[in-house]
Amino acid sequence: MATWTWFHRLASPPHVYGFARRWTPWIGGAAAVCMVVALYGGLVLAPEDYQQKDAFRMVYVHAPAAWLSLMIYTTMAVAAAVGLIWRMKVAHAAAAACAPVGAWFTVAALGTGMLWGKPMWGAYWVWDPRLTAELVLLFLYLGYMGLRAGIEDPNKADKASAMLAVVGVINVPIIKYSVEWWNSLHQTPTVMKMGKPSMDTAMLWPLLLMFVAFALYFAAVLLIRLRAELLRRERNASWVREVVT
């Protein structure tokens, strides 16, 4: 039984609130440290790419953002599924807190990709499968947030948007493969391989560290948003009064 108490505690808003408040500075601090080190490594220590020169350094923001946009969607769907299955309100609150962060990371990935694409491909936008899949992902996030905002009853909004997140997670791989297949038919106008398949270690470690930094940053922002979400949802509960005053 004792092994499950941590899981049961997750269902209690005051416990999760306290946990989030204690851990946010540590996780946020670790994210900041990792980010500074990775930025120094990526922008200063890493050598120039022999073809792309300094423009390749966009990858240090672009790739982690794109990676997180997918990871956050998965996190959101898992939280939504937990909320549906175990009727856990905290899980629904976490899913709600994930969505805007994920949408912004998707926008960041698309935006940095466009800035990189202009000098490299000569165009801000090409219908590359990965770009297209990322754009569809943005629409999925927007649909999720739209549905949540469109339903007044918070309980109903939680469950309906959770259903949508779960349906979306089944659909994401299908969309990804269909988009890739679609593009293989239409010849692509430019070569879109990003550098060489293998990366130099001096270029790679800042990238990996940046992944970690972004993931930690997401965790910190998620905890902050989760606290706000819990306060808003539980505004009539007695523990909120104790915490706020």
Binding site: L142, G150, I151, D153, N155, K156, K159, A160, W181
Partner: protein, 226 residues
């Protein structure tokens, strides 16, 4: 007492068909919408047949998708407003099968007529006569998949205030694979290539939709009715 699932589905389908034929004008609306959309393209793009032929798969499929979205609003709305859906959910019979029957009827009344009348629009877009059967087949199969996916979003938006735009916002990203394979099948038919590969994939998506979408739609409707 729990009746056999297929019998329940048959009764719901018969009811929906009867109700639909009492309001025939509503049946024609999505079809007219599709025809008008198909007409707008030659007016805005070019009247030149060879260029229209290149655009034909896109025009037909975007038109079909938009008109299917338009029709989706009517899938559950009337039944939700007059309480029928609530009675369905409380009846103790399988809501999944009932909604599956409703979705099939919805396709019979919107997707299938649209596919059958697509050749009229296709002729105007310069699609060769030999490709017509393939155009009809791809639109019919893809239309069914669209109805199945749409049933989930229609169920999810039951509780929303302004369902219309939201319904499209939810359905469109989910419909991307159907649109890609469907338009590819139509494109292959027009240029005289083998249409089997995209049709198989479209069929696979439809099978997946038949298996999972009614379950998800039933769960969504239950959430909306709570």
């Amino acid at each position: 007492m729990k009746a056999p699932a297929l019998e329940v589905a048959r009764l719901v389908a018969a009811r929906d068909l009867r109700l639909a034929f009492r309001k025939p004008s509503q049946l024609l609306q999505p079809l007219m919408f599709f025809m008008i959309v198909a007409t707008l393209f030659p007016l805005t793009l070019t009247p030149e047949m060879s260029r229209l032929r290149d655009a034909a798969p896109g025009v037909l499929w975007v038109g079909a998708l938009l008109s299917s979205l338009l029709a989706l609003e009517f899938l559950f709305r009337d039944d939700a407003q007059d309480g029928t859906l609530e009675q369905f959910a409380l009846s103790g019979q399988s809501l999944t099968w009932m909604l599956f029957a409703k979705t099939c009827v919805h396709w019979l009344l919107t997707g299938l007529p649209l596919a059958l009348s697509a050749p009229i629009a296709a002729v105007g877009l310069g699609v060769p006569a030999g490709a017509m059967w393939s155009v009809v087949a791809s639109l019919a199969l893809g239309g069914f998949a669209l109805s199945l996916i749409g049933a989930i979003s229609a169920g999810l938006t039951l509780g929303a205030r302004r369902g219309g735009v939201l319904l499209s916002l939810l359905t469109l990203p989910l419909a991307v694979p159907i649109l890609i394979y469907g338009a590819d099948a139509t494109h292959r038919a027009i240029v005289g290539m083998e249409i089997a590969p995209p049709m198989y994939l479209l069929g696979a998506i439809t099978v997946l939709g038949v298996t999972l979408a009614p379950l998800a739609a039933a769960a969504a409707v239950r959430i909306g009715l709570e």
